[in-house]
Symmetry: D2
Amino acid sequence: MSVEKILIPDVLAHRYASQEMCYIWSAHGRVLIERELWIAVMKAQRDLGVDIAVDAIEAYERVKNQVDLESIDQKERISRHDVKARIDEFCELAGYEQIHKGMTSRDLTDNVEQLQILKSLHLVRKKYTAALNSLSQWAHRYQNLMMVGRTHNVPAQPTTLGKRLAMFGQEMLQAFLRLEELIDNYPMRGLQGAVGTQLDQWVLLNNNTDALKELGERVRHHLGFTKVFNAVGQVYPRSLDYEAVSSLYGLSSGISSLARTLRLMAGQELVTEGFQKGQVGSSAMPHKMNMRSCERINGFHSILNGYTNMLMGISGDQWNEGDVSCSVVRRVAIPGAMYTMDGQLETLLTVLNEMGFYESVIDQELSKYLPFVTTTTILMEAVRRGSGREEAHEAIKTNAIEVVRAMRSGESTINDLPQRLAADSRLPLNEDEIRAVLQDSKRFVASSAAQVNGFVKQVEDILNKYPEAKEYQPAPLI
Amino acid sequence: MSVEKILIPDVLAHRYASQEMCYIWSAHGRVLIERELWIAVMKAQRDLGVDIAVDAIEAYERVKNQVDLESIDQKERISRHDVKARIDEFCELAGYEQIHKGMTSRDLTDNVEQLQILKSLHLVRKKYTAALNSLSQWAHRYQNLMMVGRTHNVPAQPTTLGKRLAMFGQEMLQAFLRLEELIDNYPMRGLQGAVGTQLDQWVLLNNNTDALKELGERVRHHLGFTKVFNAVGQVYPRSLDYEAVSSLYGLSSGISSLARTLRLMAGQELVTEGFQKGQVGSSAMPHKMNMRSCERINGFHSILNGYTNMLMGISGDQWNEGDVSCSVVRRVAIPGAMYTMDGQLETLLTVLNEMGFYESVIDQELSKYLPFVTTTTILMEAVRRGSGREEAHEAIKTNAIEVVRAMRSGESTINDLPQRLAADSRLPLNEDEIRAVLQDSKRFVASSAAQVNGFVKQVEDILNKYPEAKEYQPAPLI
Amino acid sequence: MSVEKILIPDVLAHRYASQEMCYIWSAHGRVLIERELWIAVMKAQRDLGVDIAVDAIEAYERVKNQVDLESIDQKERISRHDVKARIDEFCELAGYEQIHKGMTSRDLTDNVEQLQILKSLHLVRKKYTAALNSLSQWAHRYQNLMMVGRTHNVPAQPTTLGKRLAMFGQEMLQAFLRLEELIDNYPMRGLQGAVGTQLDQWVLLNNNTDALKELGERVRHHLGFTKVFNAVGQVYPRSLDYEAVSSLYGLSSGISSLARTLRLMAGQELVTEGFQKGQVGSSAMPHKMNMRSCERINGFHSILNGYTNMLMGISGDQWNEGDVSCSVVRRVAIPGAMYTMDGQLETLLTVLNEMGFYESVIDQELSKYLPFVTTTTILMEAVRRGSGREEAHEAIKTNAIEVVRAMRSGESTINDLPQRLAADSRLPLNEDEIRAVLQDSKRFVASSAAQVNGFVKQVEDILNKYPEAKEYQPAPLI
Amino acid sequence: MSVEKILIPDVLAHRYASQEMCYIWSAHGRVLIERELWIAVMKAQRDLGVDIAVDAIEAYERVKNQVDLESIDQKERISRHDVKARIDEFCELAGYEQIHKGMTSRDLTDNVEQLQILKSLHLVRKKYTAALNSLSQWAHRYQNLMMVGRTHNVPAQPTTLGKRLAMFGQEMLQAFLRLEELIDNYPMRGLQGAVGTQLDQWVLLNNNTDALKELGERVRHHLGFTKVFNAVGQVYPRSLDYEAVSSLYGLSSGISSLARTLRLMAGQELVTEGFQKGQVGSSAMPHKMNMRSCERINGFHSILNGYTNMLMGISGDQWNEGDVSCSVVRRVAIPGAMYTMDGQLETLLTVLNEMGFYESVIDQELSKYLPFVTTTTILMEAVRRGSGREEAHEAIKTNAIEVVRAMRSGESTINDLPQRLAADSRLPLNEDEIRAVLQDSKRFVASSAAQVNGFVKQVEDILNKYPEAKEYQPAPLI
């Protein structure tokens, strides 16, 4: 154990998040974003009359990609001030001292962090769209595969596998809508000064309020925001961070419900997340195909819950024009939440790539329960053929109870309700007629396929907006 | 203690929420909403060919306001089934048995609860608009009143009182935008049946998928939703409840920041929430004007946090097509959150009606700190008049340090920095010139007034959309 | 809708909590506790020299059970002060004015609420002990019933049903330990006055600090606390409320894990929560035995999470000597949490009374998976009989993979691995020998029974401390 | 941006936690703990008859400190299995293959992580004791310094500065008690095998249940736990992780209340956290002494809230014998919480080292408000000297109201109530007599000093248990 501080990597970034997401939040990536901001401000200031030479701006642009973190660290160790160290580094490289004019530290950091958030949300949107695309393909493929639908975790009515998947897709779509709204309306803090009155920029622009407004608009436009806040304090309202991260929790909910249901289905041997890797588990236990990735997806959901709560703690807690009680919280929770969401999406995309359904087991389960879940249809048929409703109902009920008893007690391993009903003189149906009812699967799944088509259509609309998502492939999981 | 169960009123409904909000969630109000839903469904079913007589529908409509909770309770005590009891009651009153055709319990309850949520959100929107209106009037009134802006809870730079209020209004506006999006996109679950395949309605409509879709649209339109879900299970995704309540937490954040800052300001005697009730506290302690209502506002914020967390627990936890693990949670958290938000808004509106600012104390505080927070301007003036920058800076610094020392040690009770600077031969400014700098308040508050105007304008746009909010007045607080 | 405010019952108290818990938190129950406190204080004050007549104390004691809430309400409507109304009522009844001497409102309310909390915790302890008792009986009954143990929700290794139940009992025991510590160390706030300096009692006791201490001790002892705080402010630290309610979340965790696993087991038809009510579900769907109570138990867990979070929001947020920002939060969260815990325990006790396991289905499941989960033992046997390890391993693996493939593809519905292995010439075991391995169940469950015995013993120790729990029976669920 | 994954350091570990805490959770530190566990198990196994040579154990012990993370990583890249890589590394170094006998991965990882938790809690206990020590010294120093006590953030009654500090110390003591209970009762999971039946160890020990128990006890004792769980599954109950981290939230609450109050006091210029660094802020703003460290302390509190919530999400969610849905959550939340608590304590210790109070400003504030907060005493004096109670009360009230009005309106800057009361003919007191009342400070602070002494005594008892805490000094903050 050396004297140098032990380096502990961020576990979410290191093990789960993608290179692309990590880069946004890395020291290197942040320096680049900062420099973009400074350049954007200089350009706007110059256009509005501040005395900054074109040569200076060009000099900064030339060197902006020369990021030497070690050199910055050395400067910080001397000045004990991180922003100053990065200003000095950039100025030394460029040979000018023209950046950061009329700016406070927060004019830099708040806006840079918002840009990191916005870039992260864009990345999330792309991957979420990719996941919807993949899920919609699965739903489409299985839109007519009838299976046992379950409520209270026990068989209830038939559905189709495609419809079940579309159901979770529906939850994802709802959250996706929120994400789009958030991105479309995400306001930049702007250059607001120490208490939000924009004093220093205003002075710099000769007390010209119109120019001040124009400055804000130009910087905003340059950086890709749709709006800039009108009136904030030293900091932008921290409930905006809550909005951003709580939207991730929403995005994670449909994914998490899907993963939880896949885990339940694995318990019935209906699905495996490792189908593409071969149909068997470890050599010691070939039957055992653990849903580790789906479990991990649910774990990510709990993590997002925690990060959302961290940000809830600093929302609605602004004292006067602000302070730094939120600082350490945001440092932990915002990138943490982004890595988690990213890791969850990478994991989901892998599951969607590699999973497979055991159609035969799905059929076996259906055979076992279909006679139970279709008794109301059989009753209707019996009545249609002249049976008295009460008598028919009683006949079905007694036989069904007997079948349940026999199966639960171990007397019988198959559901022979159709045979029993055929044999019951109170009912005017023979076994073939009953089997015919059971096999008319379309009848039991009602609008399932139509709903799947509706889902597929909604996803197509999104893909048309973000076509780059079609190509996205997750990195291999650790 | 009688054998009859002790009646414990819901504390939020009883003490804090308004009559209007309570009604939406009352047993009585709920029965009415249910009956509206049943009638809407019958009408749509009849239009689409289901055999329901016009007379029957009319009969239900005639009696729909006859709500006898005691009679319903008696029926429930016999049948042990709450939905059945309410069906029977309504049918007995009407003399028909035509409601609830092809509907499951959840087809009723999920949609009814969504309607309660939607009505609650409309009410919240109205009151929030009223609060923005009142806050914007305060901001406008004080847009030019210079005061000490604080960061880290200590004086930083001047701002105006109006600008400070607009700053919290800005946070409220951001959350309001989210509320509007939520209401505009809030999808109704629809008549989806036991596992979401719409089996029973589909059979009822002769397996006609188009008619099924039309049924959904008609009911949706009748009830005032903008959308209906395409594909859900036994229940709609519970993350939608999270979305609704988490938006309330967002709404509460700006309010909570405002309340917290008012409490801080009361500690400096700058504000009282009881100004309209006379400027003094209790006779025993006339100086003591407790910010009880603002404290309560902050308390409501923590409660909303808890309800949001309850709903986070059931988001992303759907098992297959659903179950009732969410049921008790939703029963507690959704109305609880609505009462809380309503109570917070009632409290806020009362504070906004009754509060007042001590302008003289605001001025005193400013006098005390202005010389400190304007030293950079004095420095600029000194340099403009020929002083060397380094020498002037040193002169200001040493004098300022001396003033701080004298005031903190009790030697001096006033800030005599202007006199000291005037007396310092290193600076070419006399006391009048320094005082002139200090009095040029517009100079220090920069774009404060312009920002207030921007805020007022944004609120006006909202008021134009929801003009009924202008008249809203809170009920007296307990 | 009358002008009178609609009465909305507290849903948790009304539907789920027991009469006994509701009484503690009812207006009536609270008045009684308050009067107990006042009387305790008077007695102690008198003993320490304050001029209070014995007759007065006796008069108060005589009338203390005469609780007329309507009369108190009328007084409050006039005075607008709730504590004053209750003082006046009690004094009028007694014909004296001797209570509340030297006490502030918080000296009354904080201590009263702590007493409500303590009484609630005692009640929780009794019911939790009853639940442990019942669970331990189940564990004991099934300590040797071998079943499929699952990890990742898929079969892993055999366990016994009793051991599985003891495993959840273990989690409950751990939390129970915490509850006992909490009760044993729960400190009373005491009579601390407006800012915690005990000014008024100190003056009342002639500035006698020893008498002041003695006063605290006497009141504490009279009310049944083990400790009194040494130094608090206007209020006791609100993190103590967090401690109390977070311990409930701990208590709820083992219960919740158990309920969740029972729901999973119901999905395999291994268990029903309605066994005692007959082995079948509704007449329409006799196979369908919904785990509604277990689902509700999980719902209660999410509610407790939310209440814990409400109290987290007021922990660590004390401003100076305190204020009422915590007030509305505590009003909602503390009784709410107690009702929830109580309702969860009532529900659990009902489940434990009425549930049943389908031993035959447990056996069927075991038959299906036992050959897989015991392959390592078969390997050992083969090696013991002279087989080469590598060859035997390969033989088992290929056969197992083939069985899995056959079963998943629908070719085979039973696990014929034993036959296949017997037929494989690479292995020196015949089918009888393999079956013998499979039937030697004690061999596979190792220390299961011993662990169950350990659990039973630990529960016995608790029952010996709280024998009244043995008789406790839950009220019927709604 | 290279192909190699960007390394992002854990921000909490890197910036805030101490070297000692980081080491416990570092890869290096973890390897050492694992090796300790393996050696402890081998020794116990050997003692109980398992065939392991003494030489082998000695060989492992000799090399246990040779940790080459790069070599382990290389092995993991090949085997794709982290535990196997570390087994192989250790065996290669020792030249034997005797470790990990009869152990599953969780037998290793769960126990190792518990040991990390336990070591972390010990470290927290030491630093918390150090903080209590420092706080108690401050309280003792100022036990008699009278100051304005505030409720609702406005002046209420006098207290002493020492008493105020002891009040927060009281909250800390309560949480400390919980920490001690937790450490004293923290149970080790033990070697429980794949589903908790201890199958593999049981076979290894020739089906000897007593030996199995003894094995558990020996390993437990060797590692320093007080207990071992009797019956768990694949994993120990995750609510134990919740218990551990929720206790940190409790520990953080008193600290957070203290920090929040110090921030409020800084707003009144009563305190600075940088007193030891010189009494002035930056040269530009010498009056501005930001409470950044106290703000950070409050931020840490919100972070702990979030980590507690992450663990709440996996408590009560065990499926059958367990799975890895908790894995990623624990990886993030447990070390995260430990770094946070550690960082908060380091920050607190620094604040306690460097802060200072402005006694003169405290006096000035007291002078301003004392006449108000002592009116009841003046009333008593007036009555004692023959004044009619009603008349005296009216006189005090009208004068006090007038003073408030004058001060708030700016007419008067000092509290001249004493003069006014002296001049009022309705009161029989002259100014000297009134001043005498005001100066009798002991009278107003009642038991303040006694409470401080009580607090100091409680802290002494703790220091006697953990004397190493006396010497602890925090590392410099970043």
